[in-house]
């Protein structure tokens, strides 16, 4: 089965600094990779995806992610963090026809 791993339970960053949330994947074949964000008491929001093409993928709210095949990674990045970016971030990989397998999630805390 396709799977992803998020090695960090929590990431802390000061506002204005760059942020990285890590994700590594284990798949057979070409991966379909996704990042979602979950704000408190709200549903899951789609941020970005990699299916094919450019390794650097740009998404919502200024986030981007870099697909690295040699390192089997798909880290989420943002050049300048905002306090409002504080949320729970999930990396996911498509498994089978359509369903997603999610990582355990990384809590991002951006401090003023």
């Amino acid at each position: 089965a396709q799977s992803v791993a998020q090695p960090e339970d929590q990431v802390n960053v000061a506002e204005g600094n760059p942020l990285t949330v890590k994700c590594t994947y284990s798949v057979s074949g070409n991966p379909y990779l996704f990042w979602y964000v979950q704000y408190p008491n709200r549903g899951l929001q789609f941020l970005l995806k990699y299916i094919t093409g450019d390794n650097l993928v740009k998404g919502s709210y200024g986030f981007e992610a870099e697909f690295n095949k040699s390192q089997t990674s798909f880290h989420l990045k943002k050049p300048s963090a905002l306090v409002s970016d504080s949320a729970l971030y999930f990396c996911a990989v498509r498994d089978g026809e359509e369903a997603l397998n999610f990582g355990k999630g990384t809590s991002l805390l951006v401090t003023p």
């Binding site: 379909y32 996704f34 979602y36 008491n41 709200r42 549903g43 899951l44 929001q45 789609f46 995806k49 299916i51 999930f90 026809e97 359509e98 369903a99 997603l100 397998n101 999610f102 990582g103 355990k104 999630g105």
Partner: protein, 117 residues
């Protein structure tokens, strides 16, 4: 992207009772998914619901506990039966949708937060 609504948004239930969660989509979709997010945990797929066929359940989930209906291409229900406190979770439905009618991205409903006492 699809607009997905769920009812109820939250509920507090007594053990031994059942709750039916509704998921409504503003466009027709072939596949719908139901996920569970236990407190402090990630999302786990419960089942895939295709219109016109029986739902397909993931390992660890059974139809008697989580019966699913899919009467048309815009609506589905998930019932959590004979509830226990371990069923306290957020339940989310999702649909795959992409540009030009593709299905490469899943969009999620706002979730139903269930607490079982």
């Amino acid at each position: 992207s699809a607009v997905i609504s769920q009812k109820p948004s939250r509920d507090i239930c007594q053990r031994g009772t059942s709750l039916t969660i509704q998921c409504q989509v503003d466009s027709q979709v072939t596949m719908m998914f139901w996920y569970r997010q236990q407190p402090g945990q990630s999302l786990t797929l419960i089942a895939t619901a295709n219109q016109g066929s029986e739902a397909t359940y993931e390992s660890g989930f059974v139809i008697d506990k989580f019966p699913i209906s899919r009467p048309n291409l815009t609506f589905s229900t998930l019932t959590v039966s004979n509830m226990s406190p371990e069923d306290s979770s957020i339940y989310l439905c999702s649909v795959p949708q992409g540009p030009a009618g593709g299905t490469d991205t899943q969009y999620f409903g706002p979730g139903t937060r269930l607490t079982v006492l």
